[in-house]
C-alpha cells in the first residue's frame, strides 16, 4: 500500500515536469500544478500557505502575466486600438485546416501512444516492482518522455531523413525507397513517428500507477466467487482503469497539440499546424501585418488546452479513488 501511493505521487511529479520539458502550453502547467496542493481538510494551516508564496509569485510572473499579455495582443490591431478582427482569422479556412491538422496529429499519436503504452504497462505488471527491468524501463520512460524538440527532430532526420542512415540502407540493401511517393517526412505525416517517440514513454509514466493499483486480491475475489479471467478483465480491470486510460489519453493529446520545436525543425513549408501558423504570423516578411493574429491563434489553443485539462483533472480525481 505505502509503496504504491509513494510511486503514484512520484509519477504525478514526473508528468508535470514532462510537460514543461516539451514546452507545453502554460495552461497545462497551471492546472496540473494546482493538483494536490489544496488545504488539508478541517484544519487551516497558514504556515503552509506562506510556503507557497514564492511558487505563486513565480507562476504569476512567468506564466499567468505573459499568457495574458500574449492573449491580449489578439484583441488589438497593429496600432494598439481594440479590435475583434484578429478573432475573425479563426474562421479562415486555412486556420481551420491548421487546427484540424493539429487535432488529427494529436489524436493519432495520442491513441497509438496510449494503446502501445498501456500494453507496455500491462506487460510490466508481471515483473517484480523493485526488479532491475522495471526500474530500467521506469527510468528510460522518464527520460525519453522529455526527449523532444530540435534534438529529436535531428535524430530522426539523421535516421530516416532523405540522406538518413536507415533510408540509405533500405535503398542499398533492400531496394526500398521510403520516399518513392513524395517526401512525406517533412509534411504532417512525418510528425507521427517523432511524436510517438515521446508519447509512448509519457503514457507509461502516467498510466503505470493506475495499473500497479490493481490488487491481486481482486482477481482472487473474482475467482472465489466463481468468475472467469475474462469476467475479471471486463468487470473489474477495465472499469477501474478506464478513467486513468482516458485521462492519460487526454494528456497525450494535449502534449502533442502544444508541441512546437519538433514540428518547427521538420516542417518548413505550409505551416500546417497551429503552432507553425503562430510562427508564420509573427515572422513573415512577405505577408505583413498579421502579428496580432498570433494572439487570436494562441487563444484558440488555450481554449482547446483548457477543455482537455479540465477533463483530465476530473478523470484524475476518479482514478485516484482506487489508488488510496
Amino acid at each position: 500500500m505505502v509503496t504504491t501511493s509513494t510511486r503514484a505521487a512520484d509519477t504525478t511529479a514526473d508528468v508535470r515536469s514532462a510537460h514543461e520539458g516539451d514546452g507545453g502550453d502554460p495552461s497545462t502547467r497551471a492546472s496540473s500544478s494546482s493538483d494536490g496542493v489544496g488545504p488539508s481538510r478541517g484544519r487551516r494551516r497558514p504556515a503552509a500557505w506562506w510556503g507557497l508564496t514564492p511558487f505563486a509569485v513565480w507562476v504569476l510572473l512567468f506564466l499567468i502575466v505573459p499568457c495574458l499579455l500574449a492573449l491580449g495582443t489578439g484583441f488589438v490591431d497593429g496600432d494598439g486600438a481594440p479590435t475583434l478582427d484578429n478573432l475573425a482569422a479563426l474562421g479562415d479556412p486555412l486556420i481551420v485546416r491548421a487546427f484540424a491538422s493539429s487535432a488529427a496529429v494529436s489524436a493519432v499519436t495520442a491513441v497509438a501512444g496510449a494503446v502501445v503504452g498501456a500494453v507496455v504497462c500491462w506487460g510490466l505488471t508481471s515483473l517484480r516492482p523493485d526488479g532491475a527491468v522495471r526500474s530500467a524501463i521506469d527510468a528510460a520512460s522518464s527520460v525519453l518522455a522529455q526527449f523532444g524538440g530540435v534534438m529529436l527532430a535531428f535524430a530522426f532526420i539523421a535516421t530516416i531523413g532523405i540522406q538518413g542512415v536507415v533510408t540509405r540502407l533500405l535503398i542499398d540493401v533492400a531496394g526500398v525507397d521510403l520516399y518513392a511517393d513524395g517526401v512525406w517526412f517533412y509534411q504532417v505525416p512525418g510528425l507521427l513517428l517523432p511524436y510517438l517517440y515521446f508519447q509512448v514513454p509519457l503514457m507509461v509514466i502516467t498510466f503505470m500507477p493506475a495499473v500497479s493499483g490493481l490488487r491481486p486480491q481482486w482477481s482472487e475475489a473474482v475467482a472465489t466467487l466463481g468468475g472467469t479471467r475474462w469476467q475479471h478483465l471486463v468487470r473489474v480491470v477495465v472499469p477501474v482503469l478506464a478513467p486513468a486510460f482516458v485521462g492519460s489519453l487526454l494528456l497525450l493529446f494535449a502534449n502533442a497539440f502544444s508541441s512546437y520545436a519538433t514540428a518547427a525543425a521538420l516542417i518548413s513549408q505550409g505551416a500546417q499546424i497551429v503552432p507553425l501558423q503562430i510562427r508564420a504570423a509573427l515572422i513573415s516578411e512577405t505577408v505583413l501585418g498579421r502579428e496580432n493574429v498570433a494572439g487570436a491563434l494562441a487563444l484558440g489553443m488555450v481554449v482547446v488546452m483548457a477543455v482537455l485539462m479540465i477533463g483530465y483533472s476530473l478523470l484524475q480525481r476518479r482514478t485516484e479513488r482506487w489508488q488510496r
Binding site: 509534411q187 518548413s268 516578411e285
Partner: protein, 378 residues
C-alpha cells in the same frame, strides 16, 4: 525597529537612484563622444553634418562598435564585407541572429530599443521596409547621386544595396542540368527540388514563385501560374518541402534549390566537394533589391552611418559583385571604371529583361500566396 527598516529602505532607494543616474550620465557621455562639432550623430543626415568623412570616421571609432543583424556570412558576401569594414576602420562588428527574417529584424530593434545590443543597421526586403519607415533614420551617403531615383527614398530613409537574380542551384553529379523550369517536373528530379523557405514567410522563397510565374506565362501582376507550377511539382512528387541550408546542400539532402544567384554561387564554394552549379534560365529574369537602412534608435549612430558609407563604397559594392549580386551602383562604377572587371565577367551582364516587382505587385503576389500556397503544396 521601524525606523531602522525605513532607514534601510531609504538607503537602498538612494543607491538605486544613484546607480540609475550613473547609467544615464555615462550614456550621455557616450553619445557626446559620438558627435563632432556639436552635431548629434543620431540626427546627422550626411557626412558633411559631421564636418566631412574624417570627422565621421573618428566619431564612429569613438563608439568603437557596430551591431548588425540578419547578415549570414554566406549571403551576398557579407562575411567579407564585415571583415573589410572591421579592418578598414578598426571598429568591432557584432553580428547577431544571422538567419532571421526581415520582419524579425524590426521586431528585434523594437524589443531591444534603448539597449547597447540593439541593431544599428538593417538589410531588409522591400515589403518590410515600406511598412516600417518610422523605424529608419534618414541619411544620404556621399555616393548618393550615383543611385537612380527609383532605387532610393527621397528623404534617405532607405536605399537599395544589391540584387541577385532568381536561379536554380543544382548538384551536377546528382541531376542533369535543367534547361527550363518544365525540366524540373521530370522523373530525374523526384523528391529533389527545394526552395529557400516558405513563400508566405520568406522573401527569397516568394521570389521563387514569382519567377516561376514569369517563366510560365504569368506576369508581375498575376503570379498564380507560379503557384500552379509548384503545385504541379508537388503532384509529380518532385517538390522537397524542406528548408535548404549550406549543410543540407553539402550533405546532398537538397540537390536542387531555388534561391538568389548570389546564394547559389556562394553554396558552390561551400558544398562539401559537390559539383554545385547555378542556372539563371533563359527567358524573363527576376531581380529584387534589398534595402539598406539605419535604425532610428541605433546605439552606435555614427558607426551606423559609417557602415552606410562603406556599404555604398566601391570596395563593398565590388564585394557584392564578387558574390554574384548586382550592386546598386554598378552602372556608375562601370562608367567610372572602378568596377571589378574579373568579377563582372564571371557573373555576367545583368539580363536586359530583368523584372523587378513594384511594392504594389509584391503585395498582390503575397496575398495570392497567403491564400493559395498551403493548399497548392499540401
Amino acid at each position: 525597529m521601524i525606523d531602522k527598516r525605513l532607514l534601510v529602505s531609504a538607503a537602498t532607494l538612494s543607491i538605486a537612484a544613484l546607480a540609475l543616474t550613473g547609467c544615464s550620465a555615462s550614456a550621455d557621455a557616450d553619445s557626446a563622444g559620438g558627435a563632432a562639432n556639436g552635431t548629434d550623430a543620431a540626427t546627422a543626415t550626411s557626412a558633411e553634418a559631421f564636418g566631412g568623412m574624417d570627422a565621421l570616421v573618428s566619431a564612429a571609432q569613438a563608439e568603437g562598435e557596430l551591431n548588425v543583424i540578419a547578415l549570414p556570412d554566406t549571403w551576398a558576401n557579407y562575411g567579407k564585407i564585415i571583415d573589410g569594414f572591421e579592418k578598414k576602420y578598426d571598429i568591432t562588428v557584432n553580428s547577431d541572429s544571422p538567419d532571421i527574417s526581415s520582419a524579425e529584424e524590426i521586431t528585434a530593434a523594437q524589443n531591444l530599443k534603448g539597449q547597447d545590443t540593439a541593431p544599428d543597421v538593417f538589410d531588409l526586403g522591400s515589403a518590410v521596409t515600406l511598412d516600417n519607415l518610422d523605424q529608419f533614420a534618414p541619411y544620404k551617403v556621399s555616393t548618393w547621386d550615383d543611385i537612380a531615383d527609383d532605387h532610393k527614398d527621397a528623404d534617405g530613409k532607405w536605399v537599395y544595396d544589391y540584387t541577385g537574380l532568381m536561379s536554380v542551384g543544382y548538384d551536377a553529379d546528382a541531376v542533369p542540368a535543367p534547361e527550363s523550369l518544365d525540366d524540373l517536373l521530370g522523373g530525374d528530379y523526384e523528391g529533389k527540388v527545394a526552395i529557400n523557405g516558405d513563400p508566405t514567410q520568406a522573401g527569397a522563397a516568394a521570389a521563387a514563385v514569382e519567377w516561376a510565374a514569369l517563366q510560365s506565362g504569368g506576369s508581375a501582376d498575376d503570379v498564380s501560374t507560379g503557384v500552379d507550377y509548384f503545385s504541379k511539382l508537388a503532384d509529380a512528387g518532385n517538390f522537397l518541402p524542406t528548408d535548404p541550408t549550406p549543410a543540407t546542400i553539402a550533405s546532398g539532402e537538397t540537390p536542387v534549390v531555388f534561391d538568389w544567384s548570389y546564394n547559389n554561387l556562394a553554396a558552390a564554394a561551400d558544398a562539401g566537394g559537390r559539383d554545385w552549379k547555378t542556372a539563371v534560365l533563359p527567358g524573363t529574369a527576376l531581380g529584387s533589391y534589398y534595402n539598406q537602412a539605419i535604425n532610428v534608435d541605433a546605439p552606435h549612430p555614427a558607426a551606423a552611418r559609417l557602415w552606410q558609407e562603406y556599404v555604398m563604397s566601391d570596395d563593398a559594392q565590388n564585394l557584392y559583385l564578387a558574390a554574384g549580386a548586382y550592386p546598386v551602383r554598378l552602372a556608375a562604377m562601370t562608367e567610372a571604371g572602378t568596377v571589378d572587371q574579373d568579377a563582372l565577367e564571371k557573373v555576367g551582364e545583368q539580363p536586359a529583361d530583368t523584372v523587378q516587382f513594384t511594392a504594389e505587385q509584391t503585395e498582390a503576389a503575397s496575398k495570392v500566396l497567403a491564400d493559395t500556397w498551403a493548399t497548392a503544396i499540401g
